[in-house]
């Protein structure tokens, strides 16, 4: 054993310098050079101000905005601390949570029935930062958002349709709508209409 300790310590020493120090620094340099925007977190800048990252969801409560999924972080959509509810399938808290969330969605969107609400809109995400909702989850909010922004429903529906992203290679994952990007588009349209 003793004759192996020396080589082991020297190998770990070398690894510390190369893998712990040089590797992350070189990778940062390369990443910043080749993909500067992604490497800095895909931040969205408007009027010279950072308003968020396209990948990190934001909390929207106003009727004028499309709203995202329930988030288990404190505060909701905490950008520096991801968390899920961890409710098991037979935990009464899960059923209470979904029921409460559904009531909130139905109240905020008059005329919408439970059978229009996809589970993803009333069940909490894994990260608590989910930036997306399903196309169905966006469509059911169209009448409310259109009304609050004094926009024609067809125009808002068209915005949702153009913001639907497909699956990877047409196979992997699910179709979704990025809520922040959609809301930016809604806001731009509303400003165009003088609202």
């Amino acid at each position: 054993m003793k004759s192996h300790i020396g080589p082991a310590i020297r190998l770990l020493l070398l690894s510390t310098v190369v893998l712990g120090l040089i590797y992350p620094l070189v990778m940062t340099g390369l990443a910043q050079l080749i993909f500067p925007s992604q490497a800095d977190g895909s931040l969205i800048v408007r009027h010279g101000r950072v308003i968020g990252s396209r990948w990190i969801g934001q909390q929207f409560t106003s009727a004028r905005f499309f709203q995202g999924r329930p988030s288990a972080t404190t505060p909701p959509y905490n950008g520096s601390g991801s968390a899920a509810t961890n409710y098991g399938p037979t935990n009464p808290a899960l059923i209470k949570e979904v029921r409460t969330n559904l009531a909130a969605v139905l109240k905020a969107n008059p005329g919408v029935t439970a059978s229009q609400v996809p589970p993803s809109l009333v069940e909490s995400s894994d990260s608590g930062q989910d930036p997306d909702i399903s196309p169905a989850g966006a469509m059911l909010q169209v009448p409310r958002v259109a009304k609050a922004n004094h926009l024609p429903g067809a125009a808002v529906r068209h915005l949702v349709e153009t913001h639907i992203r497909g699956r990877f290679l047409g196979i992997f994952g699910n179709r979704y709508v990025n809520v922040l990007e959609l809301n930016l588009a809604v806001q731009a349209l509303a400003h165009g209409h003088g609202g």
Partner: protein
């Protein structure tokens, strides 16, 4: 379930079957000193490393020497990490002035990263200094390599005959690091950044959201850590929720590629085995056996998650898929595929909250880990575990016809079977005993988050994940409590060394034997009969050992859920 959802599994398996040969061939060339495209750069580096370490790579080692060298680097790695964590208040690179970490958490974390488990009993960004975090990445590079070394030594035990030695540990280790770990990590980092994962050293970004709220966006060198985390099947991500967080996996493309990354070296190991024993059919047989078990598991998880939770049926939502703890961009199918892989391939990084999976989804996860993670199973160790099962399978087949079993041209005798059994008993014993203690003792019970049968599943999952060196968790369990930090620490240790040292001992015994030429009485270890026997052996050993525990956990919960009962 949809056709598109099932297609994800089919395409994945097809791609894996296509990639196994080129990767395995490359690995074979690396370990046998044949030419590769990286030689011009890496050969001189390799020589320099040996000189700096002061070792002679040509010196062959017996199994005991090989094992001691392997233990040495793991022990030194453990001690350094343990000291870094305990002494962190007095060491540099601690701008947040993080204080003392409780001893049991330091113990747990140091073992966790030395054993390729990456179980995280701490809150990374709120507990560990930059220096400690930096060293975790070093361990993420080094710890998977130990697994490949286990495999190389074991296969040499079959391949060499009338010999004493199993190769040089340091050469196997350094070559893996230089030719496999580092190049893959570099490519993976750039791919991840290209798809949206941040890589910077900026302070956290303060933003005013569109609606006027405040949000702090955590940043950092995420891609360079996550790439080796995923390539090395480590699992300890930068963010709390791993690949579920948008920064670690911003879209389905990035998650699909991470899925592939985790498989690369494990499937390469299978083909490498086939090449080393000079009969690639042997490798393919194991590949097919693993792929079969993987496909069945993935389909059960997907079916169960797509069917959803009957306790929510009375709300009459548009669809019934279980989306609690899942991300929109992945959906039930890709999430299920990733979670099945996280336990089968033992990478431990998650893209969904496992605690919120349906009971049958959780059952498959548990079974993948309880059978020793032999369904692809991380760098080398999944293959080693499968070879132990293969020894058991030929032994069973031999018993049926009353003939001394052979495998890969070596007679399998009492010593080999004893070692194989030892490798299977140790993990089962540790999982069941610690789980039983946890539900009896108050210290264990108070850490459980969900009540009823699901609580037992949480506990079983923790020890299965620890023993399997997996690292994923049913996240509700209080992993930082002294009881779980200490006991899961032991589980990780037992799951690594007492499980795989018998494999080395078996190799040490096999290497001395002479080759027996295949005869008409030799049971062929390729073809469908063998594949089914192997799968059957894994299933029966797993089922016999764990059925009572699983019946009280996920199976009881399934029935309760269907009967409308909550806890």
């Amino acid at each position: 379930m949809t056709v598109q959802g099932i297609l994800q599994l089919v395409v994945l398996l097809a791609v894996l079957a296509l990639l196994a040969k080129p990767i395995g061939t490359y690995m074979y060339r690396v370990y046998h000193g044949e030419r590769t495209f990286l030689d011009a750069v890496l050969r001189p580096v390799e020589r320099g490393v040996y000189r700096f370490m002061g070792i002679d790579p040509a010196q062959e080692m017996r199994w005991t020497t090989y094992a001691l060298a392997l233990l040495a680097i793991n022990a030194v790695g453990f001690i350094i990490l343990f000291l870094l964590i305990v002494l962190q208040p007095y060491l540099p690179l601690n701008p947040q002035h993080f204080k003392h970490v409780p001893l049991w958490v330091a113990w747990n974390t140091a073992i966790s990263f030395a054993t390729n488990t990456n179980w995280q009993a701490y809150g990374g960004e709120s507990t560990l200094s930059y220096l400690t975090q930096m060293w975790l990445v070093v361990q993420q590079f080094l710890s998977p390599i130990t697994g490949v070394c286990f495999l190389l030594a074991m296969v040499r035990g079959f391949v060499r005959h009338n010999a004493e030695t199993l190769g040089n540990f340091w050469q196997d280790f350094v070559r893996t690091l230089l030719w496999i770990s580092i190049p893959l990590a570099i490519v993976a980092t750039l791919v991840m950044v290209g798809l949206g994962t941040p890589q910077n050293f900026h302070a956290y970004t303060q933003v005013t959201t569109l609606q006027g709220g405040k949000q702090t966006i955590a940043q950092g060198p995420i891609a360079s850590m996550n790439s080796i985390m995923q390539i090395g099947d480590n699992g300890g991500g930068y963010m709390n929720m791993n690949a579920g967080t948008p920064f670690e996996s911003p879209n389905a493309a990035s998650l699909t590629l991470q899925l592939l990354m985790g498989f690369l070296v494990p499937i390469g190991c299978i083909y490498l085995f086939g090449l080393m024993v000079k009969d690639v059919r042997q490798g393919w047989a194991i590949f097919v056996a693993m792929a079969l078990m993987f496909a069945v598991g993935a389909l059960v998880v997907y079916h169960s998650e797509a069917a959803g939770n009957p306790l929510l049926a009375h709300l009459h939502l548009a669809g019934h898929a279980n989306m609690e703890g899942k991300e929109t961009r992945f959906g039930p199918a890709l999430s299920s595929l990733f979670e099945n892989s996280t336990t089968a391939v033992s990478w431990g990084s998650t893209a969904a909250a496992n605690d919120s999976l349906t009971p049958m989804g959780g059952l498959v996860m548990l079974f993948n880990m309880m059978t020793g993670e032999v369904i692809f199973g991380s760098w080398g160790v999944g293959m080693v575990g499968m070879l132990a099962f293969a020894v058991m399978a030929v032994f069973l087949a031999g018993l049926m016809v009353g003939r001394t079993p052979e495998y890969l041209g070596k007679k399998i005798q009492a010593y080999e079977v004893k070692m194989a059994v030892l490798a299977m008993i140790v993990p089962s014993f540790v999982i069941l005993v610690f789980a039983a203690l946890s539900v009896v003792l108050k210290a264990g019970r108070s850490g459980i988050f969900n009540h009823g049968p699901h609580g037992l599943s949480e506990v079983l999952y923790a020890f299965s994940s620890g023993v399997g060196n997996n690292g994923s968790a049913f996240g509700g369990l209080n992993a930082a409590s002294p009881w779980y930090a200490a006991t899961v620490g032991f589980a990780m240790l037992f799951g690594r060394f007492p499980m795989y040292l018998p494999a080395l001992a078996m190799a040490g015994s096999l290497v001395k034997k002479q080759r027996v030429p295949a005869s008409a009485g030799t049971f062929p270890t390729h073809g469908w009969l063998w594949i089914l026997l192997l799968v059957g052996t894994v299933f029966i050993v797993g089922a016999l050992t764990f059925f009572p525990a699983l019946a009280l956990g996920p199976i009881a919960e399934q029935f309760a859920m269907q009967a409308g009962k909550v806890f």
